[in-house]
Amino acid sequence: MAENILVIGGGPAGLHAAIELAELGVNVSLVERDTFFGGNPKKFKYKYLFPDLQPAENVIGELIKGAESNNNIKKYLSANIESFKEDGKKFSAVIKSSTGSETKTFDSVIVATGFEHFDPAKDSKYSYQLFDDVIDIKDLERMMGEGNFTRPSNGKPPKNVAIILCVGSRDRHVGNQYCSRVCCTVSVKQAIELKEHFPETEVYIFYMDIRTYGFYEDLYWKAMEEHDVQIVKGRVAEITSGPDNTVICKGEDTLLRGPFEIPFDMVVLASGMEGGPQSPEMADKLGIELDEHGFLKQANVTLSPFKSNKDGIFLAGACTGPKAIADAILEGGAAAMDAYIYAKKNS
């Protein structure tokens, strides 16, 4: 008899885990709270993925197609886990979706509930939602996905753009002490895209550190060498309104120019990643642990990063911390292997 495995979350990690398990002949139940699969990349219409700038649609589209065409995967959209309990080595869950409630027994469970973008309105110094031309990383990604690179206030091309890193990350005031890992790379990628679209536009990146780790290092070299993006060390202290429908970024260029107040046509806040309300909700429902940063806790961060603290429940993707889409997909596969082994042993 085939194993039954529950995958919670239909983003990159969950989709990949579901496909891998289905390929092994497992009966997969894939539960997604939204009306569509694809997670945040789909929801916020990400355009290109770093580092090779391949269209997000190709990657996510491929995963969705793989899941949708596989008959071993039972798909639940607009669904949630209404109740969950352990049943010996197995788990019993009530899945509620638009088609009603269904009670099922599973041999193991993969949680891939992902992350939420930090809401920059929580940090008042950036004046997000106060000025139309102050947008954040996901807003710009969506705009670019729709082919729109212009200023939200008047629809004209921006003369200059400021990109501010570490918004909602590495900041004890907002409660997120961690680095969100991907925003530097995404921001540099967006700077290059902006410059490719509007070569005349001046693009500034204000940083505390540039963490385009590993091979992504090339990306900011490219931004500087091929596109003359200005990369300035200094975190912006305040954003206010300026003359001629501009927004003024005030801060300190800690290496070269000292204090600055520069009027910009557009400001992009590189808001980080948070565990979101779904992480504590899952922890509560499934009886697994939350870490001090608000993400789901790995049993052993090096030795068993895909296990939760409860046997038979596994974790994949950004629900355990900020990570790139490539890493989330990779983790989906790894968690699928762990979940399969557990199911095989106990079914």
């Binding site: 570490c166 912006v236 801060g251 204090p259």
Partner: protein
Amino acid sequence: MEYDENGVSIVSNDFKKEIFEEAKKDFRYEEYVRGCLNCGVCTGGCPPHRFFDFSPRMVLQNCKSNDPALVWGMMDEYVWACFQCFTCAMICPFLNNPGGVIAILREISVRRGFESAKKVLKPYSRVLLKLTAYGNQLSPDMIQPDFFPDWGPHIGYASEDLPLKRKAIPMPTLQVTNLAWDVAPEAMKELYTIFEEAGVFKIIEVVDPSLYEIIQDIVDDVRSE
């Protein structure tokens, strides 16, 4: 007192070390000085940084350097440039408090009666005298061109014919110019007790010995009434 080319008073290395140790021993120091990666958000938001060579980032970095000479370099002029608005503390992602460090250093400067502290506090001796003598901070007769340059070109007119102008105010003014309001002797005596307990008299004795003598005479007079 001799000064080096940067306007910093010349003292021995041991003395610099002693001052730095005194700052570090303050119970607030550990809370105020944490990690710092030179992001500059504090200085970016710092109002005096727009006008003076003053940077809360440098305050923090000087402390983190563990170099007593760098900390001493701030003791003369530098610490007095801060507005004590604590914008830096409100926006630092590490929760550092450069303004708080300034407060600690200023208190050392005052406690030890450094020249810079005496100079900066000199204009306040009038206020202290008024406070101990009458329980008022400010009275009309203190409005003099020398002391209120920030009132602009009208300060001359504002400081003339005070008794007459006082009479023209259509509300109770005691009809005097040396008082803003009447303070009961009981309140004054309580104020002296607070000053004594909080060490204010001791600070005045260090910073301005002659002012201290005058104030003590006033305190004795009021207390014997």
